[in-house]
């Protein structure tokens, strides 16, 4: 082998030695040209390799295998120098190791290149059982590509990063990466304290090993990653932690053992309490048909409306059992993982408010009078009364006087100018209503025209449902106030000595001054509304208003002295909130033939089944159905509306509106009709047919 090469080394001697190894030549057979003396630097800083050019002197003699031994002999001859060099190298190596710090988490393999006797002569370089071998006495430079993952290769103590040539004289060492993802585990008590979940991530050890490779001129080192999982957890560890968490109930030892054995990332329910079984609220089981027959009144040929076949009107006789009251079924308490009892939410009783003609005997509702039972339910509150029916066989006029009746009223004639009809139950008018006022606690039915009149049905329901928001806010604020009072009572430096004489009024006063400053105005709102409608509201609404007054104003002898009294008031607020929140069932309704220049106010559905509505304002708390025409007026329906034809040729202004979540269906719309859904408005610029309007992303969409 002959030629010239540039060799590098820590020192000039080292560089020469490396070069000779590669050339498989000896010092006397080469010409040495020192290109760079090198610089050791301090702690690798500024270190620079020595560089020499070796050129073989051709004596016409061909190098052969024997030259290697020559080289080896020579190496010994060079003696001291070489030893010194390698010692320096080792020092450097150690310095380098410390500097890079990889000794801490890596295992360093210092293995000499072992001789590997291969049967095939072309196996020059390779990896066998985790060690490198390099065939000696070959005419080519074997190369190492050290770019594999997880291994760092050193040639004579120096890290190599790129393809590098080596010879059997080189000391090839390597360093395999290994790292551990530490074990992680935790216990978590579910927020309702019914479960304890143990999450386990076992320790994961990543180890790299060299793959066996032969037959390579260029050794592209290949590595394999071995992953092993270890779970260090003992059942005792989990039990101890559970003890720290005070978990004592429902331990699952089988799952605990499983958790301590698993090698996968997983979750175990190591303790599980018992959730409570919810009870059932009480209810009324009616013995009579309370809703009557469904059906729609028909219009006769003469334009009047026939109600005869629309409703089967239920009736009861004295002593009839109207309903059986079923008590609530209490739930079954559960137990959480701490061993505490979890109570099921309270199963509430069905409350019967016995009105006129009704008595509750033990668990039965009995009719004391014969008549039409009127039943209104709101959630669990049943309001039942038996109403007598007043049949008025002529017109209601100046001669007969106004009608005020606690029950249903049937008028066979007309309601004439300036007359008033008021009934707690239904009002049915066979004739027309002209310049009059008809008010019903429940429903209104008018068979002929309604002109210049005011109709109202279930107005109390609307007042009540309007109070819903106020009551909800008030309830929340008062609960906060109660909590604040209780919190203060617990404070070490707080004395409650003055409660006995002054009640908690002065405390409330301070809290209401800033922290709960909305409360007084809410209470005022409530009291004003209740006062305004006191004629149509039940006593309990008025009682609550009085109670609320004691919060904002001290009333002698009626002081709130304990937080419990405040709590009682809050319970009252909640009870009425429940009533106001639930719409009554069945709700009021107004069914009339035609209406003109009037006002209609109904807490439930409104149906106009004759020719339609002209210049009439309608407020419906339910659905509005107008089969034929709407011309003019402001029409509102809480639960959506359907109209046959709306607006007029002359562009008479007609406004239809519904809340944001409802739709308006129209078979024919004249231009200039304005519809409003929620807060969005739309005006029809031209006539349209079969349109349904709804709100999509705050915009009215017509389909």
């Amino acid at each position: 082998m002959s030629g010239s090469l540039i060799s590098r080394g820590k020192t000039v001697e080292d560089a020469i030695d490396q070069g000779l190894k590669i050339l498989k030549s000896s010092i006397e057979n080469v010409e040495v040209e020192i290109l760079d003396n090198g610089n050791k630097g301090i702690l690798l800083l500024g270190a620079r390799d020595a560089k020499v050019r070796l050129t073989t002197i051709n004596y016409g003699e061909k190098f052969n295998q024997s030259s290697i031994s020559t080289s080896n002999e020579l190496k010994e001859e060079v003696g001291n120098n070489i030893n010194k060099t390698s010692a320096t190298n080792l020092e450097d190596l150690v310095e380098e190791l410390d500097h890079k710090g990889w000794l801490t988490n890596s295992e360093v393999n210092h293995r000499d290149v072992i001789a590997y006797e291969s049967e095939k002569s072309d196996q020059i370089i390779g990896v066998h059982n985790g060690a490198f071998f390099i065939q000696s006495d070959l005419d080519i430079y074997p190369m190492i590509e050290p770019m594999a993952k997880g291994v760092t290769v050193y040639k004579n103590g120096e890290q190599i990063n790129d393809t590098t040539f080596v010879s059997s004289k080189d000391e090839i060492t390597f360093n395999l990466d290994q790292y551990e993802e530490s074990m992680d585990w935790d216990l978590e008590v579910s927020h309702d304290a019914v479960k304890v979940i143990c999450t386990i991530k076992p320790s994961i050890m990543h180890k790299f090993k060299l793959l066996n490779q032969y037959d390579e001129r260029v050794l592209d080192i290949k590595t394999e990653e071995e992953i092993s999982h270890t779970n260090f957890l003992e059942p005792e560890d989990i039990l101890n932690r559970l003890k720290e968490l005070r978990v004592s109930n429902g331990l699952d030892h089988a799952e605990i053992v499983k958790a301590s054995l698993t090698l996968d990332e997983s979750e175990f329910v190591v303790a599980e309490g018992k959730r409570p079984v919810e009870g059932e609220n009480g209810y009324l089981d009616f013995k009579i048909d309370i809703y009557g027959k469904e059906g729609k009144p028909k219009m006769n040929d003469d334009g009047s409306v026939d109600f005869r076949e629309t409703k089967f009107i239920p009736s009861v006789n004295k002593g009839d059992i109207i309903a059986n009251i079923h008590p609530p079924i209490p739930g079954i308490p559960g137990k959480n993982v701490y061993g505490d009892v979890i109570l099921p939410s309270k199963a509430h009783e069905a409350v019967v408010k016995a009105g006129k003609g009704i008595e509750v005997v033990s668990n039965q509702v009995i009719a004391l009078e014969s008549g039409k039972p009127q039943i209104q339910t709101r959630g669990l509150l049943y309001q039942i009364q038996v109403l007598p029916t007043l049949v008025h066989r002529t017109d209601v006029s100046i001669e007969t006087g106004n009608i005020h009746f606690t029950g249903d009223v049937e008028i066979w004639g007309n309601v004439k100018e300036e007359m008033t009809v008021k009934a707690v139950g239904d009002v049915t008018v066979s004739g027309a209503v002209d310049h009059a006022e008809v008010t019903a606690g429940n429903s209104v039915y008018i068979k002929k025209n309604t002109i210049n009149s005011h109709l109202s049905a279930g107005e109390g329901n609307i007042v009540i449902s309007n109070l819903s928001q106020t009551l909800e806010n008030l309830s929340n604020q008062l609960k906060g106030l109660l909590m604040a009072v209780r919190q203060l009572l617990k404070a070490k430096a707080f004395k409650s000595s003055d409660f006995a004489t002054q009640g908690i009024y002065s405390l409330l006063n301070i809290l209401l001054d800033k922290k709960f400053q909305e409360v007084p105005s809410m209470i005022n709102t409530y009291r004003q509304k209740v006062n305004e409608y006191q004629s149509i509201l039940d006593q309990e609404w008025l009682d609550l208003a009085e109670q609320l007054k004691t919060i904002v104003r001290p009333i002698p002898n009626r002081l709130i002295t304990t937080p419990e009294e405040l709590e009682t008031i809050i319970e009252g607020v909640d009870k009425l909130y429940q009533i106001s929140y639930n719409p009554p069932e069945p709700n009021s309704e107004i069914v009339i033939a035609n209406v003109m220049n009037s006002n209609i106010y109904c807490s439930g559905d409104v149906s106009i089944i004759g020719d339609g509505s002209y210049h009439t304002d309608i407020h419906s708390g339910g659905k509005l159905i107008i089969d034929k025409i709407v011309r003019g007026g402001n029409i509102y329906a809480q639960l959506g509306m359907y109209v046959g034809e709306v607006g007029s040729k002359g562009g008479m202004k007609t406004y239809l509106s519904v809340p944001a979540d409802q739709t308006i269906s129209m078979d024919y719309v004249w231009e200039d009709t304005v519809i409003r859904i929620g807060n969005s408005k739309y005006r029809f610029n031209q006539n349209d047919q079969f349109v349904t309007a709804k709100l999509v992303d705050e915009k009215i969409v017509l389909t």
Binding site: L488, A493, F494, K495, S497, D498, S506, K515
Partner: protein
């Protein structure tokens, strides 16, 4: 409950000690108000030192609020200083600082 008045230049300090409760109403009405009513015009600043006040009740808090408002009518700058932490908690919880103005409680002078 006891009180003490000390003054220096334009500042006067009212030191309260004991419990601030229903009984304090008497003390304020019979002694503190009359005494201060005569002297207050000579001062610009009034510190209420509550270092020795160990507990309060709701009337006591009311008395303080009333007193501070009264002093302000007389154009005196009022600050409550050196509150014990547990008393401060109650004042803070009742949002007295918001009722009387944010600067009333010197939280950083807590003892």
């Amino acid at each position: 409950m006891k009180y003490d008045l000390t003054s220096e230049d334009e500042e006067i300090e009212l030191t309260l000690s004991g419990g601030l409760d229903l009984e304090s109403t008497d003390l304020f009405e019979k002694e503190i108000y009359p005494v201060l009513a005569e002297r207050l015009e000579h001062y610009k600043k009034l510190n209420i030192n509550m270092h020795e006040v160990a507990f309060v009740d709701s009337t006591g808090v009311g008395v303080i609020i009333q007193f501070v408002n009264w002093a302000r009518i007389h154009e005196v700058d009022v600050t409550i200083i050196n509150m014990q932490e547990q008393v401060y908690e109650i004042f803070h919880f009742m949002q007295i600082d918001n009722i009387l103005g944010i600067d009333i409680l010197k939280a950083d002078t807590l003892t």
